[in-house]
């Protein structure tokens, strides 16, 4: 039988865990992924290396959890639920709501600096790129797949489109402007993307 920790020990664990997340995110933003070592994370968080190894297998695991935690926290601060796209029955309105929240997150420096460092590493380090896309990016894209499927069933999206490709028409432009700084990002911009994607560029 696993002994249930006393409330004090749980609180202590939670605060260590948060300190380790914060240290990992700060380091990756400051020195990049290759130089963000378990040793450096431990030193910055004020814990022993063994504390980290007890909970995580590698620095990639620490960072994955830190990003998931940061995203959930940002969603709650924005007054929403993490990992949910609303379904009010109005596809355009729901997509605009979620993309506006994404714009807010992407321009929040707490998120932007470490995310940019991790994305840069993922471009040149295929293994890191694939792990983070599979664990961080793809699950959030699957939420759009589900919302678009519901829209297809409700007759708001064409039945023959592939939702996994369709979502890229509004998600990828925002991602590229943010990643490569190819243009400004704003709520107006993402609203426009949704309108163009739903109604098309050709005359109706």
């Amino acid at each position: 039988m696993v002994k249930k920790p006393a409330p004090d020990a749980t609180r202590r664990s939670e605060s260590s865990r948060r300190a380790i997340h914060d240290a990992a995110l700060a380091l990756v933003g400051e020195v990049g992924y290759p130089r963000t070592t378990i040793e450096a994370i431990a030193a910055r968080a004020g814990v022993g290396k063994q504390t980290i190894y007890r909970w995580w297998g590698s620095k990639a695991d620490v960072l994955l959890e830190a990003f998931l935690d940061l995203s959930a926290q940002a969603a709650r601060e924005a007054g929403g639920e993490p990992y949910v796209i609303p379904d009010t029955g109005d596809l355009a309105a729901d997509l605009k709501t979620v993309l506006r929240a994404t714009v807010d997150q992407l321009t929040d420096p707490r998120f932007e600096v470490p995310s940019r460092a991790l994305a840069a590493e993922g471009l040149v380090n295929e293994q890191v790129g694939r792990v983070f896309v599979a664990k961080l990016l793809e699950p959030s894209l699957q939420l759009y797949v589900d919302r678009l499927r519901a829209a297809q069933e409700a007759g708001q999206a064409r039945p023959e489109i592939d939702p996994r490709i369709a979502l890229e028409l509004f998600v990828s432009p925002l991602a590229q402007r943010w990643l490569q700084r190819t243009g400004p990002i704003s709520h107006d911009y993402t609203d426009t993307l949704v309108d163009y994607a739903l109604h098309g560029l050709a005359p109706r």
Copy 2:
């Protein structure tokens, strides 16, 4: 009066220039942007540092010209004209033609390895990112702006859309799949993007 170089000297210059481009592209792919120095480029190209400084002001200038030259070369090998989007009067067909050629270029290792290294640097180094976007990426995006404007005049694209945003519906998904390896890229994929972007996701 500027003395016209003898034919031999011109040929010699052109071959040095090409060797310097090749060395710069190879190095940035192998060791990344920060460690691609003028000294390293000169050593690899078998020329003196002064030869490089005579023609270019910085390593960024060498790389910019090397990428422009590589793109032009790839376009000619593919049987097309560099820096041109055809206008046959069929917008969908013309966009598909250009995006298929882009897929071929993005999956060509001569192009992919150095481009990925440069893009990664641009993500974390804002100055490098902005220069390369302004000089390499934006001019090629402006070709889509021009083609979409012609389509608007011909009644093939809605008059109220902003072409600079509209082009992102098919360009950015390809860019993100390539940059972040979020999915496979193929001619079928880019054809689908064009169809979705032109006709929209909502039922007509």
